[in-house]
Each structure stands twice: as structure tokens, then as C-alpha cells.
Subunit: 122 residues, 2 copies
Amino acid sequence: MVAVHDPTAAQTAPTKAAEASGACCAPSAEIDEARAEQVAKVFKALGDPTRVRLLAMIAESPSGEMCMCDLTGPVGLSQPTVSHHMKLLVEAGLATREQRGRWAYFQAVTDPLTEATKALTR
Amino acid sequence: MVAVHDPTAAQTAPTKAAEASGACCAPSAEIDEARAEQVAKVFKALGDPTRVRLLAMIAESPSGEMCMCDLTGPVGLSQPTVSHHMKLLVEAGLATREQRGRWAYFQAVTDPLTEATKALTR
């Protein structure tokens, strides 16, 4: 870990070093800005207790998916509100959505969360 | 998975069923509100790319800790801004702070993140 006191140099040096050497002193410490944005997006989507509960329910549903019609009751919120929360989870790549007739069905996708966590705990 | 086509029934039926039986079809799916709040707090603290980068740097520092004076350069932000980000990480239990003379030193605590992720991926 090198302390760089010139802010301008600090913003470019680590990326250049990583590209040039491919074997920095602590390459695993490098999360570049793009990767940090991806990781933060996943965590931000889960930075709300309702979305945590929704994803947990879907992830652990015996059938591997849940109908919108079964999600509103447990969290005690209206369908438009649950739809909004589910939209954010889908946008973050944490769920997929399939329309079947009147209802939307959701499947959990937890790989992005596992990967985001690994980026900080490996 | 039963599709309930009466929206009113959909909002209340599952909760009543869970309360009545105490042994729902998928008891592990239950993350209660208090636990969901805890989990969301951890994820919310990491819902920002700068905080992701700061925690990654500290977590993977060879000495296991980093001085505030070494954090500002890599993220290209002022000390007050980095202090604010670190305060949020400390409040979420993801870092500890130790003052030594002029500088604060931070240690990463990744257990809360590991536990929060487990709550959704077990």
C-alpha cells in the first residue's frame, strides 16, 4: 500500500500500475472504479429492509420462484410498492421477472451478491 | 405456489397462515423485520462505490489496518469526505477506528457482511 499525496496522481496511478505489471504488490486490493460501481449497485439494492425480505422469501421459496400475488402479504405493502422494490432488485441483477397472464413471477439470482461480497472478503 | 387472484386476499392470507400454523411451508424464508433492518443497514453502508473501495483497501491491507492519511489519495477525495464515509462504515459495524496521535487508523470487520450475505444465500 503506497500513500500517494498528489490527488491527481492517485486517480490514475493504481490502474496504470495494475495494467503495466499485472502483478502489483497487492493486486487483490485493487477494486477499480468501474468494479466498485457494480458492487455498490448490488449492495445499494439491498440497502432496504423490504427488499431484503422480498429477496429472502424468493430465494428460499421451495419452487425457486414467487408470484407477485404471494409477495405483498408477508411484507404488508401494496402491489405497486412491491413492484417498485422488485424493479430495483431486477435492475441490480438480483432477480428475474417473468410475466404469466395477469401476474409477474420472480426468481432470485444471488450470484451478484455472492460475487460482490467476495470482492470485499476474499 | 398458489396464484391468488383477489388482490385483497393476497395481501393478508399468507401472514395469517404463517401466524396460525407456526410451521409454514418454508419457515427458513422468514427474515423478521428486525433482522432485515440489520442486514439492510450493512448493505446500505456498502451501497456507495467510494465506501466499497475504502473497505476493500483496508480489508486487504497487509498490516490489516490503514491510516486515514493513506486512504484519501487512492480515492481522490478530501479528508473530511473520507472521514464521513468511514464514519458510516464504522456505524454499520464494518470497520473499527483507533485514534493514534494526529491520525485515525481503521481496521476492516467483514463478518457483518458475510453474515448479511448468508441471510440471503443460505
